[in-house]
């Protein structure tokens, strides 16, 4: 029953050279698996390494170490954050969508490739009148539909979506999310959905991975993680989410400082120093992923303790912007 996952990445590490010989640690040992038909969301603030993870899985960047196994023929395809920038401004829409076929399906006649491209465009909701336009003659939502049609044209088993809705209006965002959810439902496409928009993640993802400083801090079913985040970082990240009800007052949990320098990575918990729940043991050594219950995991030594204790996560009104009070939670 337990077939190998469609995509399995193990212990990916990546550093980038920056000025004066320093190296930025973008990924510090990321392992992630995506099952067939599953949508896994990777969330985290800017600079957490989520885009680098996507680029490595697409083969655009080579990791320093670690492995990626992809158990399907063909390539993983991608939908990018800025739809306009991901489309060649000199190519017409039908040619953009046809190009992956031109490269990978040479055995098809040109007419066949063209008609498949047109059909692919219609399936993402772009009528024939748009097929001969240039990208700049389309709206942002239409451009992203072109990007999605191009990603789907080779019928990939998996898509990587790097913040596909972040540059779109809210109403258009909902349409694109509906489109993606439909593709997942009807064709069983697996997805890795990189985002910092919790609202869209909630709608489309089966599972969530919370990233911070190039590590996955917590993973679990979407509903579970959103309802009761285990890791203190997840709690802070999710407390910043807006609730679509003006009467509900949320108070974001404030963390001290920014993401610390990525050029030196300490040999202990990467959240130490900003964590409201820090204990002396947190700095004793690197923290592994710890299974809390079912398929949930958290990279926090408190997860080792009583799972029942952990389940009682603080309610939002306990959160306070005052750092002193935050420290006295437990």
């Amino acid at each position: 029953m337990t077939a190998a996952p469609l995509l399995a990445a193990h212990d990916l590490r990546k550093t980038f050279a920056v000025a004066r010989g320093a190296r930025v640690h973008a990924l510090n040992g990321v392992s992630i698996a995506v099952e067939r038909g599953e949508c896994v969301a990777v969330i985290g603030e800017s600079g957490s390494g989520k885009s680098t993870l996507g680029r490595i899985l697409l083969g655009l960047v080579q990791p320093d170490s670690g492995s990626v196994r992809y158990a399907a023929p063909g390539r993983i395809q991608a939908v990018f954050q800025e739809p306009y920038e991901s489309l060649n401004p000199r190519h017409r829409v039908h040619a953009i969508v046809r190009e992956p076929l031109d490269i990978n399906r040479r055995e098809l006649s040109r007419a066949e490739r063209e008609s498949r491209a047109r059909e692919g465009l219609r399936r993402v909701g772009l009528a024939d009148e748009f097929h001969h336009r240039l990208p700049r003659e389309l709206s942002g939502g239409q451009q992203q539909r072109v990007g999605i049609a191009r990603a789907l044209i080779l019928e990939p088993a998996m898509l990587i979506l790097d913040e596909p809705t972040s540059s779109l209006d809210v109403s258009v965002r909902a349409q694109i999310l509906d489109l993606l959810a439909g593709m997942k439902r009807e064709r069983g496409i697996s997805m890795l959905y990189i985002s910092h928009d919790i609202g869209s993640v909630e709608r489309i993802a089966d599972r969530i991975c919370v990233m911070y400083r190039g590590q996955i801090m917590e993973t679990g079913r979407t509903a579970d993680v959103l309802a009761a985040p285990r890791h203190p970082y997840s709690r802070a990240l999710l407390s910043a989410r807006l609730v679509p009800d003006p009467n509900v007052r949320t108070q974001p949990m404030r963390l001290a400082g920014e993401i610390p320098s990525q050029t030196s990575i300490p040999p202990f918990c990467l959240f130490a120093g900003r964590c409201p729940d820090e204990m002396p043991d947190c700095r004793a050594g690197p923290i592994p992923m710890i299974r809390t219950e079912g398929d949930r995991e958290s990279r926090c030594i408190r997860a080792r303790g009583d799972a029942a204790d952990m389940a009682a996560s603080p309610r939002p009104d306990h959160l306070n912007r005052d750092e002193e009070t935050q420290r006295s939670w437990q």
């Binding site: 083969g59 990018f80 190009e99 191009r150």
Partner: protein, 269 residues
Amino acid sequence: MRLARGALQAPLVLLACLTVLVLATAQWTLPLPYNPIMPGAGPPLRPPSAAHWFGTDRFGFDLFSRTLAAGSRDIPLAISGTLVSALAGVPLGLLAVTRGRAGELLMRGLDAFQAFPLVVLAVAVVALTGNRLENVVLAIAIINVPRFMRLVRAQGLSIREARFIEAAQTYGASWLRILLRHVLPNVYGVVIAQCSLTAAHSIVVIAALSFLGIGISPPAASWGSMIQAGAQNMATGQWWVVLFPGLAVLVTVASLNAIAEAFDRRLAQ
């Protein structure tokens, strides 16, 4: 097909094409009132009149006949020089966009080449290979190929980082395909703008070469040599000697510009 139809639809572009065509062939197709290479067609340095529409210069050449005849040499030379420059410079510039040793080597070679004063180099090459009109084209190319290379490389380097290049990699586009189908169409705009600049500059180069006795030599006319000769008369008030060949250059360059722009608009695939 689309290209031809679009170009002909715009009346301004049609007018520009006609102007260039007429100016480039006037020597053979228009009835010139005087022989353009015959001195003493009228009294020297006369202002425009019914007999001499553009006046005469200090040798008594009829400037109207001469201005029209000069275009038949200047325009074909300038256009072919520009095309040769672009046809050599654009592929070399594209090649220099690729990562790795080849591109780097190409650019260092170009640096060394450009360390020579190129106009002097061009003159030397023409002088060594013989004073023929083809060599004027070669001289224009020597001066302008590096410019096209650098331009295409600079533009290509920024395009190489674009998201749509990354997207093309995700569906397996080869580097050759990326260069030809993704980078090249996005440098057409600057290349075409550079072409109309180069064509204008070439007319100046042709003048400089003919001043040195290379390429077009007297009594045959070129706009550049007419302007150079007429410059001496400006101070003494004979403005017409410079004005009319100058206007001819202006009209030609403006027309080439309009044509280049029409091409640019139409090249979007």
